[in-house]
């Protein structure tokens, strides 16, 4: 960091060392802008702008390799903390597509953008108030009713409903591009559930970590105050103090799930899915392990149509039946209100300039792309006349599956047959289409390798309603295109992102989300654990424990092969028992030809298709963890990822017993670190208890199984010896019993010994302790089902003498544990083993 600190002083081009100066001048020399397209770096005379020059000079001072490694390290950190995993379950996860160079916006320029965005947000709120209120704009003819009703996000059921806090749209985002005239243009409004603010936070985190001195020297405006204001605004919309704020997500399959999880964690909100909520008596509740708890404010990332299967899209599984009724009666504050998405219709764009003058008495500060809604005869005619030079797009968001017309198309790109079809459709249903001018974007510099190149970009800016009025995030989410085509229409999936630095004219005060003294009420437990989280944690625990047990079995397979250690369980029967257990667990295929033990060990650990292999279990654990990223520490996540990499790395496929053993050992070490982390770094609240109960339950079941397999009535010394290995109790046993290995003491140690942390008895005692500490739903002092099952088991274990411990009894213990798992699911989780499915009532036409 010392080298970095030396660069902290503001610099001039002239102050650069010779190497840096050479890099900078090479960048500028080779930078090619596109003809007729404005550029952020160069003005029309090809002179670099001062702020950009300052930034590039700062970058040039990091030697290329250092710069790259700094950026890579910061990016990796973000990747390791998991926030960048964009597509759930995708096999090859994408790397974080972030540009090392931010977009720079000067103080004055930003003031104009911010004023324009605020004006637009104010205008849109007024239009929403009218559409969902008196509809005067429609009655007066300023806005045709049909320009509103075509959108799937026009929620008729919300007409006449007063939004909590008086606002329909507390959160707003807008996509901007710089047009050929150098002005900023509005490309799209995001009024339903704007995404990307979480990515903006992450991008900022990467860049400020990679280049701290440069970042600090440039007076970059901070993002934290914006999020603080946003949170205060959300809290203020509740009707009681200290409200429970939930972020409603479509779930881990959503494209931006990790952004949502990140945002929830950053803002301290509860991340919930539709099934976690219950609407009852005009209010909304979260299902938690302590019963139903009120949800006061819901920040939604689910599209309106999917919110309520009872009133809206009946096939939605993302919503909560009855939630619309709760919104109508004011029992919950939803942000944004259902129905705000209606503004995203392109049909409305053409009306905004006039509406702005009519409603606010001023012109739009940020013009939007010229747009003609074909539902109006004159506009239809005009579009028909200029057809070949326009972009024709759908006027509205319609329901999913409405197919081919959903994407705006540049007519010039279409075949003549496609044109004829489109024209015929346009004539049949003109109201479905808009004609738009082709938008051209400007370019900004991006680094590719060590070359500076011009890339077209779009900037998303965010506004949030706070108790002090609209606040605009000083920064944003910038996407740059990999294709050198400045028509906005070609901004596609190949986009990368860039941080956005808004510069201040005075040094920036550093603020974070530290609350002032009087805001903070000391609390030790963060609300009640949602049932879904309890479920996930419990299974995470079970997966991790099963992976560990399977690794131990694989380790024994490996050691049985080592010639040097031939004394230890080399007998055929023991090996057979080992393989049989692995087959029962689904780690080995029973129909596969009996290969070598090395092959068996390799499959046990790395076979991706076997549902009991270590890699399969680790992936299951990772997926479960991924769906509750906001609850796990970055270290926990990083270890889990390491483990997966360790096991899948193709270069590391073991070629010999020794290599296989080494890999198993190192995987076991990572698992030990994971256990240590959850024991030492997790707060002793309900979440930790479920994770630990999952582990204990699995470990208890495994202890029984192993005892039945290797300590059965005809077990050999080899069998018993292996069993002690598997439960990690060789040393304790030898210290305790000098006589050598014998059946009764081994069974006692594996099953009944409450001092042995690997025994069944120890697991049962620990689970009992957890269950007693968890909240109860009974107010009559009666015990709940899980304890009702566990207490007799615990007593039975405690009072059984080792010499009377039969295999039958061990089998009984194991069965009770399985029932216990079901009872825990029934009591605490959303979908217990006996859960009753929710179905639609049958209907008749």
């Amino acid at each position: 960091m010392a080298a970095d600190a030396a660069r902290a002083a503001p610099r001039q081009q002239g102050d650069l060392g010779p190497e840096a100066a050479a890099r900078l001048s090479a960048w500028l020399r080779d930078y090619r802008t596109l003809p007729g397209v404005p550029d952020e770096l160069f003005d029309v005379m090809r002179r670099p702008r001062a702020d950009w020059l300052n930034l590039l000079a700062g970058f040039a001072e990091y030697p290329e390799t250092e710069s790259r490694s700094r950026f890579a390290a910061a990016t990796r950190h973000i990747r390791d903390t998991g926030v960048s995993y964009r597509v759930y379950g995708e096999e090859t996860e994408r790397s974080w597509p972030l540009n090392p160079l931010p977009l720079i916006l000067g103080h004055r320029e930003w003031a104009q953008i911010a004023a324009g965005v605020e004006q637009r947000a104010t205008l849109i709120e007024a239009i929403l108030q009218d559409i969902y209120g008196p509809a005067k704009l429609i009655e007066s003819g300023a806005l045709p009713a049909a320009a509103v009703t075509g959108s799937i996000d026009f929620i008729r059921a919300m007409r006449g409903v007063a939004p909590p806090g008086g606002r329909h749209m507390p959160l707003y985002a807008v996509d901007l591009g710089r047009g050929p005239d150098g002005r900023w243009w509005v490309l799209d409004d995001r009024t339903q559930a704007p995404s990307g603010a979480g990515y903006a936070l992450e991008n900022r985190l990467v860049l400020s970590r990679a280049y701290p001195a440069l970042y600090n020297s440039m007076n970059v405006q901070r993002l934290a105050p914006f999020f603080d204001g946003m949170r205060k605004g959300l809290v203020a919309s509740a009707d009681r103090s200290d409200p429970r704020v939930c972020l409603l997500t479509p779930g881990p399959f959503s494209e931006t799930y990790f952004e949502q999880a990140h945002l929830a964690r950053y803002l301290g909100f509860l991340l919930v899915q539709g099934a976690d909520l219950v609407a009852r008596d005009g209010r909304v509740y979260v299902r938690t392990i302590a019963g139903l708890k009120r949800a006061d404010v819901i920040l939604r990332r689910v599209d309106a149509d999917y919110l309520d299967p009872l009133e809206l899209n009946g096939s939605s599984h993302l919503g909560t039946p009855g939630i619309l009724e709760a919104i109508r009666t004011g029992g919950v504050a939803m942000v944004n209100m259902p129905g705000t998405g209606v503004i995203e219709s392109r049909a409305l764009l053409g009306f905004l300039p006039k509406l702005c003058r009519q409603i606010l008495g001023e012109s739009l500060k940020l013009p939007n792309v010229a747009t003609w809604w074909c539902g109006q005869p004159a506009e239809h005619e005009r579009v028909d006349r200029e057809f070949d030079n326009l972009v024709i797009g759908p006027a509205f968001n319609t329901y999913a599956g409405s197919g081919e017309k959903s994407r705006p198309r540049l007519i010039a790109d279409l075949s003549s047959a496609e044109r004829a079809t489109l024209r015929a459709r346009l004539n049949d249903r003109p109201g479905d289409y808009v004609g738009q001018e082709v938008v051209r974007l400007s370019t900004m510099p991006v680094l590719r390798g060590d070359r500076l190149e011009a890339a077209p970009f779009v900037l998303r800016v965010y506004a949030a309603w706070t108790p002090e009025g609209f606040r605009i995030m000083p920064g944003g989410f910038c996407r740059t295109s990999e294709i050198k085509d400045v028509r906005a229409i070609s901004m596609d999936a190949s986009a990368r992102t860039a941080d956005v630095w808004v510069l201040d004219d005075k040094p920036t005060e550093s603020t974070t989300l530290l609350a002032s003294k009087d805001d903070v009420k000391v609390r030790r437990i963060l609300g009640h654990l949602p049932s879904r989280a309890a479920d996930n944690l419990f299974w995470l625990g079970r997966y991790i424990e099963r992976a560990e047990a399977t690794l131990r079995l694989a380790r024994s397979l490996c050691t049985s092969l080592m010639v040097s250690d031939s004394a230890i369980h080399s007998s055929g029967e023991t090996l057979e028992g080992l393989q049989q257990l692995l087959i029962e667990w689904g780690a080995l295929d029973k129909d596969a030809p009996a290969g070598s033990s090395l092959e068996a060990a390799r499959c046990t650990v790395r076979d991706q298709d076997a549902h009991g292999s270590v890699i399969y279990l680790v992936r299951a654990a990772r997926r479960t963890a991924a769906s509750m990223r906001e609850r796990l520490s970055a270290d926990f996540w990083a270890l889990l990822l390491n483990l997966e990499t360790e096991l899948t790395d193709a270069h590391r496929a073991p070629q010999s017993e020794a290599e296989a053993l080494e890999q198993v050992e190192s995987a076991l070490q990572i698992l030990a670190a994971l256990s240590g982390l959850s024991q030492e770094n997790m707060n002793r609240v309900a979440g930790w208890r479920f994770l630990d109960m999952g582990r204990r339950l699995e470990r208890g079941i495994n202890a029984c199984r192993m005892a039945r397999t290797f300590a059965h009535d005809d077990a050999t010394t080899d069998d018993l010896d292996l069993l002690l290995d598997l439960i990690d109790s060789q040393i304790s046993y030898r210290a305790r019993y000098l006589v050598g290995i014998a059946m009764i003491p081994v069974r006692d140690m594996v099953v009944l010994d409450c001092f042995n942390t690997r025994s069944l008895a120890f697991q049962v005692e620990t689970i009992k302790h957890h269950l007693k500490a968890l909240p109860t739903l009974q107010d009559d002092g009666m015990i709940e089902e899980p304890l009702r099952l566990l207490l007799p088991l615990s007593t039975d274990i405690e009072t059984t003498e080792a010499s009377y411990l039969t295999i039958e009894k061990i089998r009984l213990f194991e069965k009770t544990l399985m029932y216990l798992s079901g009872a825990i699911a029934d009591r605490y989780f959303l979908q217990g083993a006996t859960a009753v499915p929710t179905i639609k009532l049958a209907s008749m036409g």
Binding site: I138, P144, A146, R159, G322, S843
Partner: protein, 302 residues
Amino acid sequence: MIYTIGHKTTYSYEKPVGFARCVLRLTPASTPTQRLLDSSTAVSPAPAGLVIGRGAFGEETRTLVIDQSHDRLVIEARSRVDVDTRTIDPAGSAPWEDVRIAALESRLLTEAGPAAYLYPTRRTPTAAMITDYARISFQPRRPIVDAARDLMTRMHAEFTYDPEATNVATPAIEAFEARHGVCQDFAHIMIAGLRGLGLSAAYVSGYLRTNPPPGRPRLAGADATHAWVSVWCGANGWIGFDPTNAVLALGDHIILAIGRDYSDVAPIDGIILAPGGQHIKVEVDVVPETELVAAALLLSDA
């Protein structure tokens, strides 16, 4: 004409249901051509909560929650409705192209305006095949009522009524291709065709007065719920077209609810926590009051 209507729905469950949340749309609408005289709804088992409200399309809704275990749910609605009898001159209506423009220019955002029923929905997606079928009836400048009546008549002639062929979830395009279905399918197909041409058409659920065969008494529960299409005809307002029977709704049709498609007007919509299957039985009686009077006279004679 005044009608007395009984509409009884019985759900029988294979295994007891512990929770149900339903929305009922069983109160006939009040429209410019019909007046609701009175109505009542009885639900068994008794709901834990019942809220009377207005649905998105102006219909009266009763939202109820049942949280006691039950193996039968019975919902019985009774109402009296006065329906006007009217006549229409199909040739006197405006050319359909003018009506299309007028609908796009409408200044009414409420459920009474044409703008609410202009766009495709999940159950009535526009499909080139259906639009082209409808287009045959819509020659340039043809008066809209005349053209829509022609489409209705063609459908009645070319489609087969077959209750076994489709169910409540059959998509319009499937029923169209097979040229068969029930009133719900025919209404959806006709709506898709009209909307495909840019016209405003609504789905109407309700009842149709049926006449027992001559000399035979009316059988209790023999009637059924019905569905037809309401087309916005510009200055002529909303006019009902019944493609199942090739008649205009001019006095024999009693409107329950109006929406964009079946989903907006389903008489009973709901979710249940059901461990087993369910069976539904619907019984409907539509009795003109004149017959009631006649029956009373007969009784007094006897």
